[in-house]
Amino acid sequence: MSVRMATSVGAVRLANPVMAASGTFGYGLDLIDFCPPERLGAVVSKGLSPQPRPGNPMPRIVETAAGMINAIGLQNIGVEAFCRDALPLLRARGAVVAVNVFGARMEEYLEVIARCEREAGVAAYELNVSCPNVTAGGMEFGHDPALLETLARRCREATHRPLWVKLSPNAPDLVATARAAAAGGADALTLINTVRAMAIDAVARRPVLANGCGGLSGPAVKPIALRMVWEVHRALPEVPLVGIGGVETGRDAAEFLLAGASAVQVGTATFRDPAAPLRIVAELERFCETQGIADVRELIGGLQWR
């Protein structure tokens, strides 16, 4: 049996439902030998800001039980270098590219989008609104529905391209945040970003990370991510979702689809296995085959419950 693997996230058509996540796949070309980007549903760039950012001091990562905490601090080459060096190659390969957009202020989001608007080959923008560096009186964009709606709206006005908002699991009210993003004009929501967390070196009596806290990712967070995808899907069934958090296998991907995601992203798994996103495509296809599923989209929102 051959399985139809194509899906779409709103207007964005994907050859399969598995994307490489932001921040774990470089600028889309670093793992070409393991995961040709054009063979994935899409690749999401590392979070891009208008100017290059050096990121946080070291150490930036620490392993935890079935997870890791990172505080990279959004080190990136800046949107200009991305558009110049990476995007043309990705475009030439026919990869579907989502640009993960990050700004310390609202204007910076708009700057990144404006720069990308001059380029072909950007399939969607994904707004990263759970950055630790903040505006508006110490509140992260992703935590304040009103602010987020404004941000989404201003970005929406800046482009005709599909706009995704990546939700923070640390937001006080996930569904309100999701609703605000959609109200502001987001075409789809990606969830979840990392969960705020901390590791302590008991001997040194210090946080392990130079930044103190960081974001937890990996299999440890999968049950939380699944719950959040399902919660948002139930509240906003019409909004396309991209599920992420601890996806390690094709079966994990299927779980996220069942919970209501139209596609998934693979993050930390890529560190364990540089071919993980591609492997997961194959595993998901195989899962569908054994389950007699002819079209992977049958899974989307297919959870039988309440």
Binding site: L31, F34, N70, F271
Partner: protein
């Protein structure tokens, strides 16, 4: 560039080198080539504990009768290295290699070079020593450890140095073998005594590398340091392993390193 691969390897042999360190040989039918200083990311077990792979320098690689043998030297620190110590012979692991850049080893170079190894920093330098001996470059090998029992592969080191007409200088922090004190002090004494080197290659704990970078700056000695930053991916995509350079850039040490000319590193490395 030698193409990196994610290889299924088998544990073929293991020998204790010291109370804390052991040598482990991994085999695969696939061909693999690496230069000293390059490393591999090893999935030390199955499942999610530990979650991430561990970085280990390649201590040697050989191909015999259709089988590639990759040698590692491992210090038992935590769960990953403990799993490697316990893995039954024949167990299958995964090895993503070769990664990183490696030391500069110009064929035909005369030398002499100073190879400086601190503790479990030895593997890339022992690998280098063997290649240098084979290509006829002279070198001295400085081998430091906390205590006599932790001096690794002394005979192996001695014969490699001898083959290149060089000296093996052992030091221990506690004076229980060789010269007492830090390995960098032993190098400093010889430099002060007039010994000259075309270049120093070093790997070891950060304080040792700092001392060496300082010495290199003061003496105008070219030095290449192999750094050990905590690594998430080993392939440049997590940015967890960055090193600050003199020009203020933060570069992933797994990709632009792990070997850096001391002069390229931010000033605090040699401060």
């Amino acid at each position: 560039m030698i193409a990196r691969r994610d290889l299924a390897v088998r544990v073929a042999a293991r020998t204790d080198l010291s109370p804390t360190c052991f040598r482990i040989a991994l085999t695969t039918p696939e061909p693999l080539a690496a230069v000293p200083g390059q490393f591999g990311m090893v999935a030390c077990g199955e499942g999610f504990d530990p979650l991430l792979r561990r970085a280990f320098s390649i201590a040697g690689v050989a191909r015999r009768e259709g089988v590639t043998i990759v040698e590692l030297m491992v210090k038992q620190i935590g769960r990953g290295s403990a799993l490697l110590r316990r893995a039954p012979l024949g167990a299958e692991l995964r090895l993503l290699a070769p990664l990183g850049n490696g030391f500069t080893l110009a064929p035909g170079e005369e030398g002499p070079l100073a190879l400086v190894a601190g503790g479990i920093g030895l593997p890339p330098l022992l690998f280098a020593a063997e290649l240098l001996a084979a290509q006829g470059t002279a070198f001295d090998l400085y081998l430091g450890a906390a205590t006599a029992a932790e001096l690794l592969e002394v005979e192996h080191c001695r014969s490699a140095a001898a083959a290149a007409g060089g000296e093996l200088v052992c030091t221990t922090d506690d004076g229980s073998a060789g010269e007492a004190g830090f390995v960098t002090a032993a190098l400093e004494r010889r430099l002060a005594g007039g010994r000259r080197y075309a270049r120093a290659l070093a790997c070891g704990p950060n304080p040792m590398l700092r001392a060496l970078a300082r010495l290199a700056r003061e003496r105008g000695l070219d030095a290449e340091l192999s750094l050990e930053e905590p690594m998430g991916c080993g392939v440049g995509v997590c940015l967890g392993c960055v090193v600050e350079l003199a020009d203020g850039q933060f570069v992933p040490s797994c990709k632009e390193g792990p070997v850096f000319p001391a002069s390229r590193l931010a000033a605090r490395w040699s401060a």
